[in-house]
Amino acid sequence: MPEVRFEHIVKRFGSFNVLEDLSLRVEDGEFLVLLGPSGCGKTTLLNLLAGLLDVTGGRITIGERDVTDLDPSQRGLAMVFQSYALYPTKTVEGNLRFGLSALKLDKAEIERRVAWAAQLLQIDKMMSRKPSQLSGGQRQRVAIGRALVKHAGVLLFDEPLSNLDAKLRTEMRMEIKKLHASLHQTIVYVTHDQIEAMTMATRIAVMDQGVIQQIGTPDEIYEKPANLFVARFIGAPPINTFDATLETSGGRLVARHAPTAIEIDLSRHEFRSAPQAGAPVVVGLRPEHFDVNDASRDDGAIRLSLPVRYSERTGSDATAFLEAGEQLLAVRIEPSLMSRLRIGDTMAASFPMDKLAVFDARSGLRM
């Protein structure tokens, strides 16, 4: 399966710059997710790869082939669209067959591939139905089937799950991941849903304002966000951030949050560059890293006792929101603990030192 390269891609719509000198390599057999908020340029990037938009500058290669000026049907790609884009007047089988129309295959091979995809996606019982007679999940399968029959080396997905309900979405997520595991195609998948990105990707490229903010495995992205944007974009409930100032207190380096006088111990934080006292920083604390059962642990970077403002239960999880000055601090707690919690109770929590994320307040970069 081929690798995909974007080299110094520039895309303008009129005078509006969507992408400015973007380079990206999608490795052979990789499941790369382009993740970002609406309007960050991720779908534009996908459409440039598909050939549905022309680049203003730069080069796109798939394997050894330069595809920058090739027609979409000649690029050796298959794509699954957000709206499924099934042909309404064709049957399921007709839809799959039309997917092969640019490939000039002989009849036996077409039959073989259509039967294979139908079997694989369990749509063989509905081959003679029209798309309007299918449910959302079934349409999604047909759309994926139409992409799979091409045996293209590179599969593109444009937010394929966003029209499904939550339960189906979880199911299809698993199925797409299974398909990737068994077929080893190179996949470029666009989404704004961080759960999809975290669960499916082998690597995630987080984009904002046409720039790739960070590219790495889901773990790297989550645990070691390269900058504040990535840290805030990934994670639900989102990361807690404190605007603080670096200070030395009692021989230790601390980040001091002025409004609440909370001091966060940074003495064991591994800085990338030497920190300077007085520098403004943003400290990020993930809600699930808080320890509420044993607030007296000695490696705690902070120990807090704060009043509970409210709490949320999301099935397997629960979050308490503590009042820290003007802002709220989200802390993940055991659901069993939550039933005992009353608004106004004081809750003690500590945060382990090795989980801290510290960012330069001016550049937003990780320190």
């Binding site: 598909a50 050939g51 549905l52 027609d71 979409p72 049907s73 000649q74 790609l77 298959a78 794509m79 669209f81 957000q82 709206s83 499924y84 884009a85 099934l86 042909y87 309404p88 007047t89 064709k90 039309f98 997917g99 092969l100 129309s101 640019a102 029209k130 798309p131 309007s132 007679q133 299918l134 959302g136 349409r139 139409r146 029209n163």
Partner: protein, 305 residues
């Protein structure tokens, strides 16, 4: 106040139906009703006169009681109109005109719809350079009256060597209807979801294959609209048929006019009325036959529904 208990799933429990008051007829709908009645009477009364006259023997007509029903019903005027009505020196009835009109209708429909649908498809769904400029020119052309370009068109058609044949009439109909039909098709195809066309472009990439296999099968409704529009236009046309048709290719309308508008001899009203009705009926039949296909969803199922 009675307590309202929340509904839970309970097998065998009868549903409680709370009746709602029916809406009253409002003053404004009465006004609309009266207006519509007047408008339809405006058309219906003359039509009634035409119909009853066509079934009266000539003796009853001369009495002048135009609103009376025939005392003695007769289909003789209809037979005469169809078989024996005189146009100039020939007395072959209006039937030759009917067959001429049919012969003109089909090539006109095929030619005009083929040209306009493909042009509309290209303008709506493909990246055509200067597509907007082209559309604007078409739009302007829709406002040019036929009479202004009639003589140049005759010269063009004559130089093609088809003047006086049904092909000349069909070609002129196709050219004259192209601006309007192209705009209709273009606007219709513009509403086909972009992703659907993108999918087809990635799957096939062939302009004609996408047109035949994807776009044309989705065009059912607009085809019905355009068919009704074009059948009415071509069938009711007088001027194009008169100027571009030869002696043997005169459409029904031309023959009707030649027969009815005579300055000499007596006016055979009942036959004239029957001939007029015979000429007017075919588009009506088309309306009733195709009308029910008018409003139907086309893209249902392509997009989340």
């Amino acid at each position: 106040m009675t307590a309202l208990s929340e509904t839970r799933a309970q097998p065998g429990r009868a549903a409680i139906v709370i009746p709602r008051r029916r809406r009253r007829i409002k003053g404004s709908s009465i006004a609309i009703f009266v207006f519509l009645t007047m408008v339809s009477l405006f058309v219906a009364i003359p039509l009634y006169v035409v119909i009853v006259t066509s079934f009266k023997p000539i003796g009853e007509i001369t009495l002048g009681q135009i609103f009376n029903l025939p005392v003695q019903w007769t289909v003789q005027p209809w037979m005469k109109a169809w078989n024996e009505m005189c146009t100039g020196l020939a007395c072959d009835g209006i039937k030759q005109g009917f067959f001429n009109s049919v012969a003109i209708l089909f090539p006109s429909l095929v030619l005009s719809i083929a040209i306009a649908s493909v042009t509309g498809y290209a303008l709506a769904l493909w990246n055509v350079r200067w597509a907007d400029g082209f559309l604007f020119v078409l739009f302007i052309c829709a406002f040019v009256p036929f009479q202004i370009i009639m003589i140049p068109l005759i010269i063009v058609v004559a130089s093609l060597g088809i003047f006086g044949t049904v092909w000349a009439i069909a070609l002129v109909h196709a050219v004259l209807s192209m601006p309007l039909l192209t705009l209709i098709f273009r606007n219709f195809y513009k509403d086909i979801p972009r992703e659907l066309i993108n999918a087809a472009i990635m799957d096939s990439g062939s302009f004609w294959k996408i047109f035949w296999e994807i776009v044309l099968p989705m065009s059912g409704n607009i085809m019905v609209v355009v068919l009704i529009l074009m059948i009415t236009t071509v069938w009711n046309d007088y001027l194009v048929g008169l100027t571009f048709g030869g002696i043997s290719t005169k459409p029904m309308t031309v023959i009707l006019a030649n027969s009815v508008i005579t300055s000499r001899g007596e006016a055979i009203y009942n036959v004239n009325m029957a001939a007029a009705l015979l000429t007017a009926v075919p588009p009506l039949v088309v309306y009733f036959a195709l009308g029910r296909f008018f409003v139907q969803g086309i893209t249902s199922g392509a997009i989340k529904g």
